[in-house]
Subunit: 143 residues, 4 copies
């Protein structure tokens, strides 16, 4: 398969994430193992303390992780996520997650993800995420 068509097929597959669409998150594959996801926090995405819900910050980070780890066309499933919450954000804030592949071995691969406030650039959360790579390619492997 032509590499440009391959890239496009992978991208279309990843864009179909129902939960990303439900939250209104924009998912973008920048290159192999590299992605960006952005989202504007709405009132219903807050917690009982009135700040952005940890699960929403995680969702952003997780969607960037999923896009980056599946960006090769090989099915990758999350094994472990370690996330640190660093700064409070609020409804109306626009958050951007960026994921980068740090390591890709035989069966596993590791990603670093930052979540930042788009306006200030402040670090909101940082995570380190591990996948298991299955013997299954949702878009045919490069030969």
């Amino acid at each position: 398969m032509d590499e440009t068509i391959r890239r496009r097929s992978i991208n279309e597959f990843i864009q179909k994430d129902p939960f990303a669409r439900h939250l209104g998150a924009q998912v973008e594959i920048i290159g192999p193992g590299h992605s960006r996801v952005s989202l504007t926090v709405s009132d219903e995405m807050t917690n009982f303390h009135g700040t952005t819900h940890g699960a929403v910050i995680f969702a952003l980070s997780d969607m960037a992780f999923a896009a980056a780890s599946n960006s090769h066309g090989q099915t990758a499933v999350a094994l472990n996520v370690g996330i640190n919450f660093l700064k409070v954000s609020r409804s109306g804030d626009r958050l951007v997650a960026e994921a980068k592949e740090e390591f890709a071995g035989g069966r596993t691969a590791l990603y670093s993800i930052t979540v930042r406030d788009e306006q200030t650039g402040d670090l909101v959360a940082k995570s380190q995420d591990l996948v298991y790579r299955k013997n299954d390619w949702f878009v045919k492997k490069e030969r």
Copy 2:
């Protein structure tokens, strides 16, 4: 304040979580440092592989964590979450998260959370979560 009234005030505060309501999650404080959250996975809560989105499993775990760690009436904010994803689940499955306090020191406290398939009892995810406890009581402290 009477302890029964205190418990009820804390519970009412925690029930107001907008994101839990948005996802349709039922949050229940079982006792101090102990909570349970349940949710039925819907189609929009899935990922591009067609299984329950990791961010939804995390959300369940995180809501149990937040309920348990704030169950004393003292404001607790998440510092770190380490989560392991163990078993795939799907739209229509009912998932139950249970959080238990493992340690409560001066400024920090630690929680263990399990997420299970309600029907089979299978472990879907397990996490270990750390909070920072602020000098702020949203429901007045016991004397």
Copy 3:
């Protein structure tokens, strides 16, 4: 192979851990997926703040993890460890780690480990650890 002989072979294999011997740690397999490791903290096991070194607390936890995850005779290698340090300890203290299998799937398995002060029973650290299980049995598999 007779199950008693099998258990003994696995135990002998695990006892040969050079770093556990070097630190003077006692490793004990209690049953499949369950182990205990103990150690007395010496002066050289402290850090520049004069308390037990985090790497020594981790070592105890890790040795319990390794014993539990290899207790079936199948080679298990650590993928991820998430550890929370909860209480300071000092030279002269006796610490005990206990590991329990929480989940064992196809290629991965998850363990919970506690490290306690043997005398007071206080929780010193808690970790949640993930292994990858190789297609390799160092003591022949049960049929």
Copy 4:
């Protein structure tokens, strides 16, 4: 206090780590929030599978973390470490850990640590580590 003298005092304090000396690790503060630690793996630093013990890889990472997080002269204690083990190494290999400060807030700070094989540059482990910063300066604070 003169900044050069201050830096020297902090460095002397950190060099006194008994467990780092016991393992023969070289600890170097490169700058505020930045450190490097190196070690040659010896036979007694291996596990029962004959490879470098996970606790030794952790020790290297942890010593870099401790040096970086205490490099400001303020007492920092480890709260959480999430470490991923990526590549096997062996006795005779020289490993190098490097820690960098990713975030420093009021009471907490976060560090990224890589452990690499010095000769090949291969990533052996990667961790993300959180400290609590106490109201205690072991070398007087800059004014």
